[in-house]
């Protein structure tokens, strides 16, 4: 167990280092000169030179890399090229918004998708199954940003259940939840579609297993077989997939936060790309990649909790 955890941790650290290195050097291959981007094309050569010196861009690439990695170990992600604010501060202040959006949408996905997947498998080839599969296939095909627009039109514009313009300053808990519902639903419904498909197919596969036949032949009630025996085994692929969906959710958050004008790392990244703020783009991408690596690590290590047969040798 110890060696497995150590190996997985090392592997995660290696991937995070590789991601950081790739993003760092990729950002340095951009044909545009950050100094010109920030100061404009009419800036004097002296001003451009001064900017490069202040931002450390006049140093050799490997020196810049060493400084960046040293800074990273101390939580320093550099300063925004546009605002000159520490990037780490911006990310720390916005991360909770993206995190709550991701968690809420994953919750909606699981709470809607797992029961629906079980129901469609248990009621295979009935109208319940057909409706569930239609929902799954349609949800699976909806672009997150389009679903967001439709929800906004229906619930904010026509039914007026949720405000169109949200306030993210001095809000109460109720307002915070109110602000979260539609964005989380637009991502969560799509996650629910993925989870429904996966739960249904895993459940159907398990229902054909020998142990299910044995359980039935022992005279166990069908409900006990389905919910006590089968569902446990279905949870492993579902949880693995939910870990993998973190990437989809974070990718979707970029669009959802833009649609709903909601603060978060995704919106920060889109703004940084529009302004060519390379330091901010670099850090935003790294944060997303780190979250995905860490979530996958947690999912990997949590297998034994859901399936005692899994041993880490």
């Amino acid at each position: 167990m110890f060696f497995y955890v150590a190996k997985r941790l090392l592997s995660a650290v290696f991937i995070m280092w590789a991601v950081t290195t790739i993003v760092f050097f990729a950002m340095r291959t951009v044909p545009a000169d950050p100094a010109e981007v920030v100061l404009g094309e009419y800036a004097t050569p002296e001003a451009l030179e001064g900017f490069r010196r202040a931002a450390g861009l006049d140093q050799p690439l490997l020196v810049q890399y060493k400084d960046f990695m040293l800074g990273l170990t101390q939580g320093d992600l550099g300063r925004s090229l546009i605002t000159n604010q520490p990037v780490a501060d911006q990310i720390i202040s916005l991360f909770p918004y993206t995190l709550e959006l991701a968690i809420a949408s994953l919750l909606i996905g699981a709470l809607l998708g797992i029961p629906l997947g079980v129901l469609t498998a248990v009621k295979q080839n009935t109208w319940v199954d057909y409706v569930g599969r239609l929902f799954a296939l349609s949800g699976f095909s909806f672009p997150a940003f389009y679903l967001g627009i439709l929800l906004l039109l229906l619930f904010s514009l026509h039914l007026e259940w949720f405000p169109i313009v949200h306030s993210f300053e001095d809000y109460t808990l109720a307002e915070r939840i109110e602000n979260l519902v539609l964005p989380a639903a637009s991502l969560g419904i799509i996650q629910a579609a993925y989870i429904t498909r996966l739960t249904r197919s895993s459940m159907l596969e398990q229902l054909e297993s020998d142990y299910v036949r044995t359980a039935r032949s022992k005279g166990l009630a069908e409900r006990t077989v389905q919910y006590k025996h089968v569902l446990k085994n279905v949870m492993i692929p579902v949880i693995t997939a939910m870990g993998l969906y973190t990437g989809t959710i974070l990718g979707g958050a970029v669009l959802t936060e833009t649609i709903f004008n909601r603060p978060g790392i995704g919106k920060l990244l889109v703004g940084a790309i529009a302004q060519r703020d390379y330091t901010l783009i670099q850090s935003g991408l790294m944060v997303f990649a780190f979250v995905i690596v860490i979530v996958n690590l947690i999912v990997d290590l949590s297998y034994s909790l859901f399936d005692p047969r899994v041993k880490y040798d």
């Binding site: 592997s11 290696f14 991937i15 995070m16 590789a18 991601v19 790739i22 993003v23 990729a26 950002m27 291959t29 951009v30 296939l137 349609s138 699976f140 095909s141 909806f142 672009p143 997150a144 940003f145 389009y146 627009i149 439709l150 906004l152 039109l153 514009l157 692929p237 990437g247 989809t248 974070l250 990718g251 979707g252 970029v254 669009l255 833009t258 649609i259 990244l269 889109v270 790309i273 529009a274 783009i281 991408l285 997303f288 990649a289 995905i292 690596v293």
Partner: protein, 299 residues
Amino acid sequence: MTDTTTSIAVSAPRASLPKVLWSLLTANVGVSIAVLFVVGMVLVAVFAPLLAPYDPIAQSIMKASQPPSAQHWLGTDEFGRDVLSRVIYGARPALLVGTLSVAFAMVVGLPIGILAGLHMGWLDRIVGWCVDIMLAFPSLLLALLIVTLLGSSLPMLIVAIGISNIPLFIRLARSSTLVVKNLEFVQLARTFGASNLRIIVSHIFPNIIGPIIVMGTLSIAGAIREEASLSFLGLGVLPPAPSWGNLIRDGIQNIFDAPHLAVLPGLVLTLAVLAFNMVGDALRDALDPRGLTRRRTGA
């Protein structure tokens, strides 16, 4: 579990494939409609100049922001451009980026995956690390990064979305090759001195093509969605050229007065993604012998 699934998929009988596909397409109404939609979309994209009633980028301030009418079935946008014509022309980047980016991912990913599966050892480990690193980026963000670095243009979009799909094909080709390379006929060919290239071309590739076709079709759906997402963010197809993504982006500016400007292109986009997903699902069923058995026995 993955290997079992792959072995079932890769051992599908090749000879009956066209028959299986035909029976599947004619047996299921939903799939038939999806195939017709895909064929229709291709025709619309190819014959867009003949089908579109107006030039999609011709502006006319006199006709700005008109509601749907007999002259302009879907109305006009704020620059007086005919929305229907723009939706019709929007099929072009969607299909071009969708198919070519997946083809790019296949051309790069499949040989790497097959070689990694065939040789294992250090090559497999390095490929595994590269795939893990690429998968640490959400595919949309990876494409976003590449477009930011290389600039927005149709070829760059194809490369960016293609690169973000490469790890999927490497993984699929690797796991399928691992199953096929241990089958008796491949071992026998090796005993008779067949070269690696011959084993790959004559034995491995034809036997893993089934799951690749399925993954390819489903990936086209994903790539169309990704192109639209990037265009929606202003990083894909750049205005005034029409794309379903940038049509939704333009439409959302006017969402209070003319919601159809965002809703209709989005609907066409969703239907296109749905159609490719349905065809991909149907192909998976057709190429999975267990699925076939279930259908034949009416289970």
